[in-house]
């Protein structure tokens, strides 16, 4: 498995994105803890966007 590595848009640390990660999944920066959603995936190239904050209406 070849994990993709991206720089955290917040703190520039390296974020590993698993090869089998899907669009809509959340990845977290190991340094600053910011959460990002995988917005798109084209081959091995991912685009990240800030993940939504947990809402009051989230859950089952």
């Amino acid at each position: 498995m070849n994990d993709q590595r991206m720089n955290c848009p917040e703190c520039d640390a390296t974020i590993k994105i698993p090869d089998d990660a899907s669009v809509g999944e959340i990845v977290s920066c190991p340094d600053c803890g910011a959460d990002f959603e995988i917005a798109s995936k084209n081959g091995g190239v991912c685009e990240l966007k800030h993940a939504e904050k947990v809402g009051e209406d989230w859950g089952e």
Partner: protein, 286 residues
């Protein structure tokens, strides 16, 4: 080849399991992000690729509810329906429907002002459990054991002043073992059940809060009450929460619309995603 679509706003393990199973079963499967989809009053079914059936799996209740309404407007079969999502998403509506359909459920009080809530607590006695009428993962579920706690919680609600904070849902504390049962119904079958034991002697038993899943045998009594509860809210794919009252036996306290099952899938005998996908395909053929 049947076309299955899974609508999400955040992909959790459950959505990945459903997608993978649908693909394994040979269905044309696509994931659709609710956050990037747009509708208008002029939208037509053929403008989209929603396939033969949609499993609505948004983690945001209101997003999922309104997305479902848009899908139904386009005459797309969607699980669960807007009506079921609405019935399950609002604890007050759920309690009323359960009682109306003779499903044993904890005694619950509804008041529409803080003064009336305090009056209920003073009259009927502590403790009662206060729950937000919309919310999940056990958030805001607090046992009110005395006046001091009640005043504090009510004050916080008044400061927040959300429209739903003015509706007070107060439920009896059920005398039960420190666990509850989560069962999953798919159509007219109860496919799996587990005990959820609270961690560290706590009050809440949500898996999202760390409760440990332990397999629960599906007895006829459990199946009967769960299927009655499912019918009461309108049926579909549901997570039914049951407590074991020391005197009354099983009581249903919640029915969940977008059921999470990663905990239960660890202990269930049946393959939960497969049951759900098979049901969806059957639902599309109706």
């Amino acid at each position: 080849m049947p076309k299955v679509r899974i609508v999400f706003d955040r992909v959790r393990l459950e959505e990945k399991m459903l997608e993978q199973k649908a693909i394994e079963l040979g269905h044309d499967t696509k994931m659709i992000d609710a956050k990037t989809t747009q509708f208008t009053t002029e939208s037509k079914k053929n403008d989209y690729d929603f396939g033969d059936v949609v499993l609505e799996r948004c983690v945001s209740y209101f997003r999922g509810l309104h997305f479902t309404a848009a899908l139904e407007f386009l005459d797309i079969p969607v699980i669960n329906s807007t009506e079921v999502a609405n019935n399950c998403g609002n604890k007050m509506l759920t309690s009323l429907l359960l009682k109306k359909h003779n499903v044993p459920t904890p005694k619950t009080y509804f008041t529409f002002s803080s003064e009336a809530a305090v009056e209920t607590l003073e009259k009927d006695g502590y403790p009662l459990v206060i729950k937000p009428i919309i919310g999940s993962w056990g958030r805001g579920v607090i046992p009110l054991r005395d006046r001091e706690t009640a005043d504090a919680i009510i004050e916080v609600r008044e400061l927040n002043d959300g429209p739903l904070d003015r509706i007070y849902y107060l439920q009896e504390v059920v005398a039960r073992p420190p666990r509850d049962i989560r069962a999953i119904s798919v159509g007219d079958q109860l496919i799996a059940a587990m005990y959820r034991t609270s961690t560290g002697g706590g009050f809440k038993t949500n898996i999202a809060l760390g409760a440990e899943p332990i397999v629960c045998e599906i007895t006829k009594d459990l199946e009967d009450i769960c299927m009655k509860a499912s019918k009461a809210v309108g049926g579909g794919i549901l997570g039914i929460d049951v407590m074991e009252d020391e005197k009354r036996g099983f009581v249903v306290h919640e029915v969940n619309n977008t059921v999470e099952f990663k905990g239960l899938s660890k202990v269930a005998k049946k393959n939960i995603p497969k049951e759900m996908i098979d049901y969806a395909i059957g639902y599309a053929k109706r």
